[in-house]
């Protein structure tokens, strides 16, 4: 879609774009270019000079078991966050959609965690499950369940998944509720008259009609788990124990700021960029024409 009527001015449009473009070039394209450039180079131990090494940074990465493991960790983590987050919020949204009168009250009570910083969400769950003082950890101990996210990889993963899901439920909930409210009542009424039970109506009518929303949220949740959960990981586990919860983003940060291995960090950045590009393309391709019937 384009405007039929426009203004004519030689320099003004460029001036209007200037602030946005300046920031984009300085803080986005320059660093991204630098990451790509650096990913093909290796620095000497003193950081005084660097030389072209071709793809060897990438080859090193993929030869490294740690890195492959991190891929696996990221996959498990984002799958858990997406599936758990989506199921819980869908359940809540379907329920909230049923109670017409009280829906807005429940909505207000359910959406505010969106505003809580990811890092703060991490702190809250860290405290609740902290082995010595955490109230839920103490409860687990009383039940005879051994719990120590600092030593046990599964416990650590459970905890970061819990915190990440908690933080994301409200977002998913809002979109599901909007999607549910957009489904024509007449369809559901017709099915009810034909004698379909609520469960059957949900699986044969509501769920299929909701699939564009579900698909969209799936992508958003995967992006969230890949990138935005950095704060949760950094606060709760720092990637540990060992590297059990060290997702890709955390590894980039570690390589760049803790290990100071710039070549490897840059190569990891480039790989992450490729992943984001794929996810964004998928998102836009399908959001535009929707997964539809």
């Amino acid at each position: 879609m384009e405007k039929r009527v426009v203004f004519t001015h030689k320099t003004l449009p460029y001036l209007l774009l200037l602030p946005q473009l300046a920031i984009t070039v300085v803080f986005f394209f320059l660093p991204a270019g630098q990451a790509m450039w650096q990913s093909f180079r290796m620095e000497d131990p003193f950081g005084l000079s660097s030389q072209f090494v071709g793809l060897s940074n990438f080859i090193d990465l993929f030869a490294n078991d740690d890195y492959i493991d991190s891929f696996q960790t990221t996959a498990v983590f984002s799958l858990l966050v997406a599936v758990l987050g989506l199921s819980i919020s869908l359940l809540l949204a379907v329920m909230a959609d049923r109670v017409i009168k009280a829906a807005s009250i429940y909505k207000t009570l359910l959406i505010w965690p969106y505003a809580v910083a990811t890092a703060v969400a991490g702190v809250l769950w860290l405290f609740l499950f902290s082995p010595s003082v955490g109230i839920l950890a103490v409860m687990l101990a009383k039940l005879g369940i051994s719990w120590n996210p600092r030593l046990d990889g599964t416990d650590a993963m459970t905890l970061v998944v819990l915190a990440s899901v908690w933080k994301q439920i409200s977002y998913n909930f809002l979109f599901f509720l909007a999607g549910l409210q957009a489904i024509p009542r007449s369809l559901i009424e017709a099915a009810a008259i034909d004698g379909a039970s609520p469960a059957r109506r949900f699986w044969t009518i509501v769920f299929p009609l909701l699939s564009p929303t579900t698909f969209f949220l799936l992508i958003i949740n995967v992006i969230y788990a890949f990138f935005d959960t950095f704060a949760i990981i950094d606060i709760i586990t720092q990637g540990g124990p060992g590297s059990e919860t060290s997702i890709l983003v955390y590894k980039v940060y570690n390589a760049g700021f803790k290990g100071l291995d710039l070549g490897s960090s840059a190569a990891q950045s480039v790989i992450l960029m490729l992943i984001v590009i794929v996810l964004t393309v998928v998102q836009f391709r399908y959001i535009d024409r929707k997964v539809n019937y």
């Binding site: 879609m1 405007k3 009527v5 426009v6 203004f7 004519t8 003004l12 449009p13 209007l16 774009l17 473009l21 920031i23 984009t24 300085v26 803080f27 986005f28 991204a32 990451a35 819980i88 359940l91 049923r98 109670v99 017409i100 009280a102 207000t108 009570l109 359910l110 505010w112 969106y114 505003a115 809580v116 910083a117 890092a119 703060v120 702190v123 809250l124 769950w125 405290f127 609740l128 003082v133 109230i135 908690w166 409200s170 979109f175 909007a178 009542r185 559901i188 009810a192 990138f227 704060a231 950094d234 606060i235 983003v249 980039v252 700021f257 840059a266 950045s269 960029m273 984001v276 964004t280």
Partner: protein, 280 residues
């Protein structure tokens, strides 16, 4: 309601109430912990009833009385400035660029538009180290400029305004031109007032985004007096060998939550609109 199913209604409310309780539980515990003494909190399990040290704890963190913690009041101020500059800055520069792209024909128009679009694919997380270097070279570490400028570019906001401008009737611009208004006059007197709703919605979303930033401030602020509150909390936990004073950490966490949560709850209408629009 399609049919009466009293049992199902009860289950519905039950599920929702359980959901609300699970969502709210961590916050309740946070509040309770923030009203007790460090010893009371460390006594496992701590009491689930509020203690009597509410004012004491909050006063302590706000003025920075506690050991090795900078005053939270200062951090809240930094966070506020940061969130406001990011939100307002994003809206301003995105509106201007959307205006240029929609209302003018010029060379490289689509090229520039795509340039802005591509930034969607370059989140801070994937280019941390080189962006840090750029900011360091510009001498912007530990400054408001360093905290905000790199986060101000926004493809989503630009899209949102472009989308909105495209729905503004052409008759308005024709009328404006007949009356002799130039492009900037049209922008100020016609487009800006028409965009009020979009601006409000976007402001809510971007304020929260700015307030809740973590990774970026974590790497570029090294001085205590430039910590946003979210980073301050992190530093309070990672206090080396010293024991974490959870009651104070929790008080700080609660303080850090108040502004963004208040924005969401009190501006719910704009918040929902902004969230849904921004993802279109």
């Amino acid at each position: 309601m399609i049919e009466r199913r009293p049992v199902l209604d009860i289950i519905t409310h039950l599920v929702l109430i359980v959901g609300v309780v699970i969502i709210a539980f961590p916050i309740y515990v946070t509040f309770v912990a923030s009203t007790q003494t460090a010893q009371e909190v460390a006594r496992a399990p701590m009491s689930l009833l509020p203690g009597s040290h509410f004012f004491e704890n909050y006063w302590k963190v706000l003025v920075g009385d506690a050991a090795n913690t900078p005053p939270v009041a200062r951090m809240m101020w930094i966070s506020t400035v940061m969130a406001l500059v990011i939100a307002i800055g994003k809206i301003a520069i995105s509106m201007l660029s959307a205006f240029a792209v929609v209302y003018f024909r010029f060379r490289f128009r689509m090229f520039f538009f795509w340039m802005i679009f591509v930034t969607l694919m370059l989140p801070v997380e994937v280019r941390i180290a080189p962006t840090y270097k750029v900011v360091a070279d510009l001498g912007m570490l530990n400054s408001y400029a360093g905290l905000t400028l790199p986060l101000i570019a926004s493809a989503t906001a630009t899209f949102l305004f472009r989308q909105f401008f495209l729905t503004v009737p052409d008759e308005l611009i024709e009328a404006a031109r007949i009356d002799g208004a130039g492009p900037m006059r049209f922008f100020w007197d016609v487009l800006l007032p028409l965009s009020r709703t979009s601006i409000a919605a976007l402001f809510v979303i971007q304020f929260i985004y700015g307030w809740n930033q973590y990774l970026w401030p974590l790497i570029i602020t090294t001085h205590e007096n430039m910590y946003p509150v979210v980073i301050g909390i992190k530093r309070m936990i990672a206090g080396g060998d010293s024991v974490t004073e959870w009651n104070l950490v929790m008080a700080t966490a609660l303080l850090a939550m108040i502004p963004p949560v208040a924005v969401v709850v009190f501006m719910q209408k704009w918040f929902v609109k902004g969230l849904v629009d921004a993802e279109k």
